[in-house]
Symmetry: C2
Subunit: 193 residues, 2 copies
DNA sequence: TACTTAATTAGTACCTGATACTAAAAATAG
DNA sequence: CTATTTTTAGTATCAGGTACTAATTAAGTA
């Protein structure tokens, strides 16, 4: 079988097609046909063989991603979902670790997401116009993995003047994975710099 | 002119339409017509009046966003842009505070973004398979505002066994706004739980 | 009440970017 | 020179629209 030149032409075209579409996902079959100097039917056969969906499907997939990301970006304002809260007293927040939040190599969550959950919660607890983290003393007890659900529990332990101390413990299945002591500055007036 | 009831009905529908589409951008005119119990033409007139593009245009816009954002999502893995790095020695990272990262009321950056930049940098410094934050002692010196550019400077101050201590100072225009002492656990082997 | 204006519905022609299918033509292999 | 691949052509059909015309149904006012 010296089935080379013509088949190579086809294979080459298909290889190029794959990464051309990858880099130009908004191209129509018609334009691809021009690009590769073949008929539109050939392009469609190629897409079939390669399992590449049509333009509109490709766009839909990508659009779905942004849509989901917008949601998580909104959540991003407060990281984690606050499921219980008594202002100036305590609060509970839940966060499920997603792929975006872990090291690819190990599947272990990046520390700042765990911190962010705790910090968001601590700040949310404070019943004032302005609440800013001033200080934090934190400890990561054990790694947290992809898909684990973090339950952060925060308690205001003291308040004096413009500062509150808040203790946050974070658990996965009742196992302590993180703890932190936050000092939060609180104020009613908003003074610009 | 007591042009109320009918017009209100229309206005109300249009208001609802706007935020319904916002929350369900993948809906067709046909389904919208069913949802609102009007004809498909009414929906189309409404969209025209409200300047809402057709489904396919909506999807295309969103898809374009993901396409552009793929890059910034990659950046997201490490928060901030690392502009200088000597493994196991020091590193510098830059982060410009965007709208997503501030409290709407005050325009002050949420602490966990500042922490995330410092933490990312500290972890990136460690020249090992695995590097995990174990502990951190941090202080927010002054609020950071929208559009300010944070320069985080990290230095490894000591290493013993599996732990390194890293000092991170973050500046805006040479003014110290944050400092932290991180203890990072480092290891070559990856032991699953 | 009758008239007028606004709002809604109906219907047609056409567009894009496809799928699905049939069939012919061209290229290549053996 | 024939069998098989590969490519091209062409038709019917679909979804989800635009653009336009015209009729119908409220609703508001003189």
């Amino acid at each position: 079988m010296v089935v080379v030149i013509s088949r190579l032409a086809k294979k080459q075209r298909q290889e190029k097609l794959v990464d051309y579409i990858e880099n130009n996902p908004f191209i129509t079959d018609e334009d691809l046909a021009k690009k590769f100097n073949v008929s539109i039917q050939t392009i469609r056969l190629d897409r079939m063989e390669l399992g590449i969906p049509e333009l509109r499907e490709r766009m839909k997939k990508m659009a779905t991603k942004t849509f989901d990301n917008v949601k998580s970006l909104h959540l991003n304002e407060v990281i984690g979902e606050i499921i219980d809260l008594q202002l100036d007293q305590f609060g509970i927040s839940l966060l499920e670790i997603t792929e975006d939040q872990v090291f690819k190599k190990t599947g272990i969550a990046r520390g700042h997401y765990i911190f962010a959950q705790a910090n968001s919660l601590a700040v949310a607890l404070i019943n004032q116009e302005i609440a800013l983290t001033a200080k934090a003393d934190i400890r990561f007890i054990r790694p947290v993995y992809l898909n684990e659900r973090l339950i952060a529990k925060a308690k205001v332990v003291s308040t004096s003047g413009e500062r509150s101390e808040i203790k946050v413990n974070t658990y996965v299945n009742n196992e302590l994975v993180f703890k932190g002591l936050f000092t939060v500055y609180r104020s009613n007036e908003f003074k610009t710099e």
